[in-house]
Amino acid sequence: MKDKDLLLLSFLRSNGRESLTNLSKKTKIPVSTIFDRLKYYEQDVISRHTALLDFSKLGYTAKAKILLKVRKEEREDLAKFFQNRKEINSADRINNGYDFIVEGIFKNVKELHLFMEILEEKFDIGEKQIFFVLDELLKENFLCGSPASLPKNYGEDI
């Protein structure tokens, strides 16, 4: 990946709605080239452009990180379950004693407990740990900001 393309992605990480004209000014890449590069990267490198939200201002007061361990045979079904549940914002398959770490967003603690009850009725949950998110100090910050703040050799070997 060219340094300028990396710069383009970093500006989009900082502001996903930045106009093509502004991106062109900031990166010194012609607008038409930026348009083409975006289309190209949207095939595999860019997953989605989105708005990050303060869910508490929408009435969702309970946000939690949940660690879960299930039987090996149930892992695929549990992954599908998370994909279909609207309460689950993010889910990762992990190692080190647990199988999943999920981020759930709920109206209140009662709704979280109801979700956990449904989860435990459907799956044989071996171990679980719930951590409530008290504050977001940083969110989706990797590759954001000025070129100086980018990880060294970010784009090498690509």
């Binding site: 990946m1 992605l9 989009l12 990480r13 900082s14 502001n15 996903g16 709605r17 595999d44 490198v45 860019i46 997953s47 989605r48 452009h49 989105t50 708005a51 990050l52 939200l53 303060d54 869910f55 929408l58 969702y60 990180k65 660690l67 998370f82 609207k86 309460e87 689950i88 914002n89 993010s90 990762d92 398959r93 992990i94 190692n95 080190n96 999943f100 770490i101 999920v102 740990q129 719930i130 951590f131 409530f132 998110v133 008290l134 504050d135 977001e136 100090l137 940083l138 969110k139 989706e140 910050n141 990797f142 590759l143 954001c144 703040s149 990880p151 970010y154 784009g155 070997d157 690509i158």
Partner: protein, 132 residues
């Protein structure tokens, strides 16, 4: 609380933040003139940031790790490898998501973490998909 019109626009932006105002107006069946006003209101309240989610492994950053720690160095807020930091309840005080080129880069980062537990991400099942 948001109005129904504001919620419609918000859902559009959550699905694809780069949609033009014209497209948003068509999808929500709201007048174009009100879209800009609604967006400004949302940006001053619930929208914390517009961003582009990346497939980091496609860019050569293959190691994504969740750390749980008791303490956190203020410098971490400026650390380029850190994607997300939450203050959490319970046994640990902080949840940190780091993205690294390789294991040696991660090991170097860990030297500053102190007492922690780490979980390597084997596969991303869902990323930032909650729709209010």
């Amino acid at each position: 609380m948001l109005t129904q019109k504001e919620m419609k626009v918000l859902r559009c932006l959550r699905k694809d933040a780069r949609r033009s105002m014209t497209t948003i107006a068509k999808e929500t069946k709201l007048p174009l003139a009100s879209i800009l006003l609604i967006m400004r209101r949302l940006e001053n309240s619930v929208v914390t940031k517009y961003t582009t989610l990346l497939n980091h492994s496609a860019l050569g950053h293959n190691v994504k790790v969740h750390f749980m720690t008791k303490g956190m160095d203020e410098e971490f807020l400026k650390n380029p490898q850190i994607n997300t930091i939450y203050k959490i309840s319970g046994k640990y005080n902080y949840f940190i998501e780091g993205i690294f080129k390789d294991l040696s880069q991660m090991e170097k980062f860990k030297e500053r973490l102190g007492n922690h537990r780490q979980f390597f991400v084997m596969e991303e099942t869902k990323v930032e998909e909650f729709q209010p």
